[in-house]
Structure formats: C-alpha cells, structure tokens
C-alpha cells in the first residue's frame, strides 16, 4: 500500500474524530483519543465499524487495547489494509 493511502487513512481518522469530539483540541497524529478527545468506548467502537466499511477490512476490536493515539490507529488500519 502506498504512502498516499496512509495519508488518506490519517485524513479520514482526523475528520471523523473531529466530528465525534466535543473538545477544541487540535487533532494531530499524536493526539490521545481517549484522554484528550474524550471519545468514549462506544463511539470508538462505532468508528471502527465505519473504518472497516470505508476500507473493506476486518478490524478486531481487541486490537484496540494497545491503541491510544491517532497515529497508532492509522498504523493499525494501514497494516490490516496492506495485509488484505
């Protein structure tokens, strides 16, 4: 998968997260989704479903245990998409 696909994933995540959060925090790859954006667990799970549909992949929600920042989530999606 190419660099532009990675950027596309990152862009999509930033857009969706900014519509889900009530916080004014500027979203960057290093933003922590739970502590800085206060995205609750259910919102995050629903976001995963959306990402699965956008990129036509399966993302197991247990893979999220180690994911805190936007970059970590983008890496995970990118890895799964590249392997599929």
């Amino acid at each position: 998968m190419t660099e532009s696909n990675y950027d596309e994933i990152m862009q999509l995540l930033c857009d969706r997260l900014s519509s889900l959060t009530n916080s004014d925090t500027q979203i960057t790859p290093e933003t922590n989704m739970i502590s800085q954006l206060s995205i609750d667990s259910i919102k995050l799970l629903n976001l995963i479903m959306e990402i699965e549909d956008t990129f036509d992949v399966s993302i197991p929600i247990n893979a999220l245990t180690d994911i805190h920042t936007v970059r970590e989530l983008a890496d995970l999606v990118h890895k799964i998409k590249s392997a599929s």
Partner: protein
C-alpha cells in the same frame, strides 16, 4: 494520575451526571413485599424495574424446594463442580435443561454472566473470530475478551451489515462463532433469528443465542426465541440465566453438539468458582417446571406488556421497536431520563435508569419491565403517571 486518583476521576464523572446525591444506581431496597411491591426509603413502591418476568419470586413450590434443600444439604457446596461441588441436584438440573430444549447436553454455571464467559471462552480462542451484535450484553463482550479471539461487531440487528462482515472474513468463517440475544436487555427488541440462521448456514459458522431475557417469555413452553421462531434445531448453543424468569441465580448452556461436555475440563468460569448452592438449584428446578407449564402466566404477561406498551406509545413516548416485557422510553439526554426516573420514584414507581454508554447510540433510557404478577390497576397507574409526566420532559 495514580490508581486511586483514576477512581476519584471516575466518581467525579458519575457525580456530574447524578447531582444532589441521587442514588439511582444500587438503590437500597429495604423490604420486599411481593413480586410487585417493595419499600425504598419510607416509600412503598411498585416494582417495574425487575427481571421477574413470570412473577415467580414468591412461588410456594420454589420456596418449599429451597427450604428442603437447605435442610438436607446445607447452605453451600463449598467447592467447584470439578471437585466436590457436583451434587445430585446440579446433574439433575442439567438433564432437565437439556430435555427442556430437546438437546443432548446441558451445563449449569454459577451465574448467567459466567455461562457466557465459560461457553464463549471454551468455544473460541486466539486465532478464531467472534461476530457479535453491537448491542451485546457485557457478559458476551467479556467472554469474547477472555477467549482471546478476534472480536468483530455488526450493527445491532442489521443483517446486511452482518453479511458484509461475514463476507470480509473469507476463509476465517470456518472458525467463526456468531452471537446474538433472544431479547435485547436495553430496548427489549428481538433478534431476526431466521435471517441470522440463513447467514450462519450460508457461511457455515456456529451460532450461539443468549436467551437470558426470552426464556419463559417467548414460545408455547417458554424456551424463548428458538421456540417462537421454530428454529431450535438451527441454533448450535443456547445460553441463559436463572436470574430472570426463574427467579434464582445461575446460568446454563445447552447443545446437541457432544463437544459441549469438553467445556467442563477447559472452561475457567466453570471450573474456578464454587457451584450454585443446593437451595438455588432446588428452587430453579421447581421454577423450570412452573415455567415450562406456564402458558397461562405467559398469556397474562403478554397482556400486561401490551397494556403498558400501548399506553406509553399513545402518550407519545419513543419506545423500543418490539412490544414485550422490557419497555424502554428513549430520551435524548441523561437529564431528561434522570428527571423522569426521579419523578416516577416520587410517585412510588421504581423503574431502571440507563445512561450512556450503557444505553445504545448515546441515548438515555427509562426502562420498565412488566411481569405476569402485575395487576391491570398497577399497570394503569404506571401508564397514567408516565402520561402525566410526559410534558415535564
């Protein structure tokens, strides 16, 4: 933040939702008078927030059986099913559950929560997949996490969404377990079992159905959604609880797959906990007899459900899609739900308050549950009070 400060932060978040020390969660019930009435503080309240669907909490047959079991076998087994905790009653109840569902095997667990934990973590493991409804009960989520399998959610009761996710799994469907519930505990709606079964067969997966809220409620003999839909033989594993229509505590899994028996040797939630007490098993056995012969109770229950559901619907409340013993008024904000819940309590009516994220889609719920012992007058009083309070929210 250290560990204790994290708990303080969580407590502060909860207090901000529930001002003035309102004790909506874990409200103390001081005295229980019957299946429909109790005392909270100095109020005698109507109980419309229990899971006592057939109203059997004081059934004389169950109370007598529990008394006799305590006298004969003592208060507890003090051990695991694997060691000294498998009494005659445990094995008999397993046989009775298997017969009730016309299945070859049955296993009894110490709670319904553990029935899901133990069954799911016994059936799947790392490298396998569980495909679960997005609104699944916490015991299903926790069972999946304990198993180490990959967890994929589909949109609640959405079969197009479920098929999409099955298709994406490719060859992995061979080791995929699909999980759904007979009646969902928050909105009271039922799973589209016929369509789930069609997909399960098309993709050749295994299906587990949790009949926790539908046992005793759906079907001629009360088996649940499997009986109502005539699909008993199509469901691979059925789990359920004793804590709702059977009015005790415990859980079960039944199946026609002989491999179910293997769970007794590998399932930690089955092995590493004490078995249900003799009184619990005895009252459950008596309650299962009443439940299976309880078509009159079910008739009464459904007439009660329809009465309350229609009145709330006519008043204008937004409700779950299927009428049934769980009737939830869906509200936009936690404040509206809290206000309605509190006013109902001031009118001596106890119901459940459900706030996000426990309620689906960020909504808040005032959840009522109806039982077969409620009288027409009690239901009318509750319906009238909801109507009176409608404009307040």
């Amino acid at each position: 933040m250290n560990l204790l400060e994290k708990l303080d932060a969580a407590a502060a978040a909860r207090k901000s939702l529930l001002p003035n020390g309102v004790g909506a969660f874990g409200i103390p019930i001081e005295e229980v008078y019957s299946a429909t009435e109790a005392r909270i503080g100095d109020r005698r309240v109507l109980l419309f927030g229990t899971n006592n669907y057939l109203g059997l909490t004081f059934a004389p047959e169950c109370i007598r059986a529990a008394h006799e079991a305590i006298d004969k076998e003592g208060t507890g087994t003090t051990g695991s099913r694997m060691a000294n905790g498998s009494y005659f009653g445990h094995r008999a109840l397993e046989r009775e559950f298997a017969d009730f569902y016309q299945c070859s095997s049955g296993i009894v667990f110490t709670t319904g929560y553990q029935a899901n934990l133990g069954t799911i973590s016994g059936l799947v493991g790392p490298g396998d997949t569980v495909l679960i409804d997005g609104d699944s009960h916490a015991s299903i989520y926790d069972g999946c996490i304990l198993s180490g399998a990959d967890i994929i959610r589909f949109k609640h009761n959405d079969m197009v969404d479920m098929e999409k996710r099955l298709r994406r799994l490719g060859d992995r469907v061979e080791t995929t377990l699909i999980i759904a519930e007979g009646i969902y505990s928050m909105l009271g709606d039922q799973a589209p079992l016929a369509e789930i079964v069609k997909l399960k067969n098309a993709y050749n997966c295994i299906l587990l159905l949790d009949e926790a809220h539908s046992l005793g409620v759906l079907g001629e003999t009360g088996q649940g959604l499997v009986e109502k839909t005539g699909l008993l033989k199509e469901v691979d594993f059925i789990t359920g609880t004793f804590s709702k229509s059977l009015c005790s505590i415990g859980g079960f899994c039944v199946s026609n797959h002989p491999q179910l028996e293997q769970l007794r040797y590998i399932s930690h939630p089955y092995i590493f906990t004490a078995s249900p007490s003799p009184a619990t098993i005895a009252s459950t056995r008596a309650a299962l007899v009443l439940l299976s012969k309880g078509s009159d109770l079910r008739k009464q229950l459904w007439s009660n459900c329809t009465q309350l559901y229609s009145q709330l619907e006519e008043t204008g409340y937004l409700l779950g899609p299927d009428p049934g013993p769980v009737i939830s008024a869906i509200l936009d904000t936690p404040q509206q739900a809290l206000q309605l819940w509190q006013s109902l309590l001031e009118h001596n009516i106890y119901v459940n308050l459900i706030l996000p994220p426990a309620a689906p889609e960020g909504k808040s719920l005032v959840r009522c549950s109806v039982n077969a012992a409620h009288t027409t007058e009690q239901i009318k009083y509750v319906g009238d009070t909801f109507s009176k309070l409608y404009n307040m929210i």
